[in-house]
Symmetry: C2
Subunit: 356 residues, 2 copies
């Protein structure tokens, strides 16, 4: 399959997931109507929050499923949509925790409510409170229904139970990762590289890579060995992805990543680069810069330079490459069919290309 | 069954629910251990938050189940525990929304974390943020696992699907009710009696009475007509219960209700009494008192007197009696077996006794 074909296949699969989510939200909004216009509106906002994404987790489910010979793409789309709703729930509540009102430059649920309340004359404090409250509720609905979509997928019996176990594992790990993240962000000491890696794996990689891949494999009826290998591939590539994401959060181009490259620095986001840098001489100056909410663009350039000079950027990139290469090695194992390798190789390549 | 027997039966059923929750939390804590001591600690705090309650929702499940001839009390205890976890999730997130750190005089999850962080030298602002963050995560875990407990109950096939539909209905209604509550508490105008009743039904009565009773009936294999009647009984008695609860929140004795009788007044809690009072001459003075966070005990007495003089208290009590009597009428319907009537009559009587 060449690049052109891959893009077409991805679009086709994405459309199937979109259709599942569209049906789900259409039903939910209809059901919400008699309970009041604000409730219907909340469902609409939640729906909007699931749109425009890369459908990354569903793509992992479907790649594993198709690569292992699965041919009921509608069922795979249901399972994928379930992970997408879990993702929505986690980011909506992550924004509640961080008291963020904007995500990727667009008002999130809290932000939309806040802005609406301010327009109607509420004070900022009351408007923000209303926004956060609505986001707590919306995240709960997304979380509950991520489980529900698996139950509604048409999959039954032992396979359903296994898929639910996998989704449970995703949720269990993410909650642990979120808690570690909260603790790290409030700790007065700088974190260790291993703490960052554990946090990023639990908070994001498990539910974004490991478990969606495993769910796709289970749905395709794969054996334990294959499911386990896919989990390991997902773990390695998921960690690599997070490390690269952090590097691009500081050094990437805003246009391609959709993120500002100053936000993470101002916020003092704990990353592998920071954990490495704090044992280098450059830390004396870096500690004054990182986490300064008023960091200027000039100071941001100085920070980036110091992260390069300290070796922190190269360290993170090497680390990511190591993880990505170990991921590729998993795919080379003899029990992985060529069709699956063909599906997943590009995933690992994409990560590697980002640090090339 | 006399009163003494009923107490013994309630204790026995409560013990079965406790055992389900104990097993669930014991497994979860063991599973959390490798993910870090703070995560295990969070699970322990969540467990503590499910303890000491009246196991009200499980009792509804089990009353309906036993009254309809069900004899697998362990399965009923699982379904009951599921509603108990849903209850925990909803109150934990309700406290996040209200930024409450105490519930019934004891620090809740946010409060426990805040106090712990303050003890270790964190600022109050940071400590509160950490507390609220932990509560968001803990509520998510409780919510997700309320669904999960039904899946783990041993009930399969169509019956499992129907129980999941009922739990979904409970969650769907509660979220709508919570949103209406947030909107009402921020509205500048006084609410209508009907708005309060709708909010209280959706936010609390559906998941505390209507759906647990229906779940017990479904588990007992009851027919549609009985399930529907139980839902109506639950709706009527649930609304009656909420109205009485609001009256007792202002006029009750703290020892028997476990709540202060000044908190609701200081907070300006929207109740049927308030909605009624605002169309009476006493409102001119009442509006100055209600919602004043610094309300003195003397002013609280004045407020209570005005609520009596305006007729608001009597209005609410009459309203509650009407709902409770309609609930009792449902039980008198011919397709309700005597054994079920015997189980549920005391529930309605208890509500009626509280306004006698």
């Amino acid at each position: 399959m060449d690049r052109h074909d891959r893009v077409a296949v991805a679009a086709e699969r994405g459309a199937l997931v979109d259709a599942v989510l569209e049906r789900f939200f259409s039903l939910s909004k209809k059901r919400a109507t008699p309970l009041g216009a604000p409730y219907e509106h909340l469902w609409g906002l939640l729906e909007r929050n699931t749109q425009g994404g890369k459908r990354f987790r569903p793509r992992m489910v479907m790649a594993a499923y198709a690569g292992l010979g699965g041919d009921d793409m509608d069922a795979a789309a249901y399972i994928g949509a379930s992970f997408e709703l879990l993702h929505t729930a986690l980011i909506v509540h992550d924004d509640v925790i961080d008291r963020d009102f904007v995500r990727r430059g667009i008002p999130n649920i809290s932000g939309a409510y806040r802005d609406h309340a301010v327009d109607r004359g509420a004070s900022v404090e009351i408007a923000e409170h209303r926004g956060v409250s609505a986001a707590v509720i919306a995240g709960d609905l997304a979380l509950f229904n991520s489980y529900r979509l698996i139950d509604k997928s048409g999959v039954t019996g032992e396979m359903r139970d296994r898929l639910l176990d996998i989704l449970d594992e995703a949720m269990f790990a993410s909650a642990a990762g979120e808690l570690i993240d909260v603790d790290l962000s409030m700790a007065s000491t700088t974190p260790l590289v291993d703490d960052i890696l554990t946090m990023e794996r639990l908070k994001t990689a498990v539910y974004s890579f490991e478990t969606p891949l495993q769910a796709g494999a289970v749905l395709a009826g794969a054996g334990e060995e294959t499911v386990a290998t896919l989990g390991e591939f997902g773990r390695e590539i998921g960690i690599a992805y997070q490390i690269v994401d952090d590097v691009l959060g500081v050094f990437g181009e805003e246009e391609s990543t959709g993120k500002t490259t100053i936000g993470d620095l101002r916020e003092g986001k704990r990353t592998v680069m920071i954990a490495f840098a704090c044992s280098t001489p450059e830390w004396v100056r870096l500690r004054e810069l990182i986490g300064d909410p008023d960091l200027t663009h000039e100071q941001a350039i100085e920070t980036r330079l110091l992260l390069i000079q300290s070796g922190a950027k190269a360290f993170a990139e090497d680390l990511a490459r190591g993880y990505a290469q170990r991921a590729l090695a998993r795919l080379a194992e003899p029990h992985i069919p060529a069709s699956l390798r063909e599906e997943l190789h590009p995933v690992a390549e994409t990560v590697l290309n980002r640090v090339r």
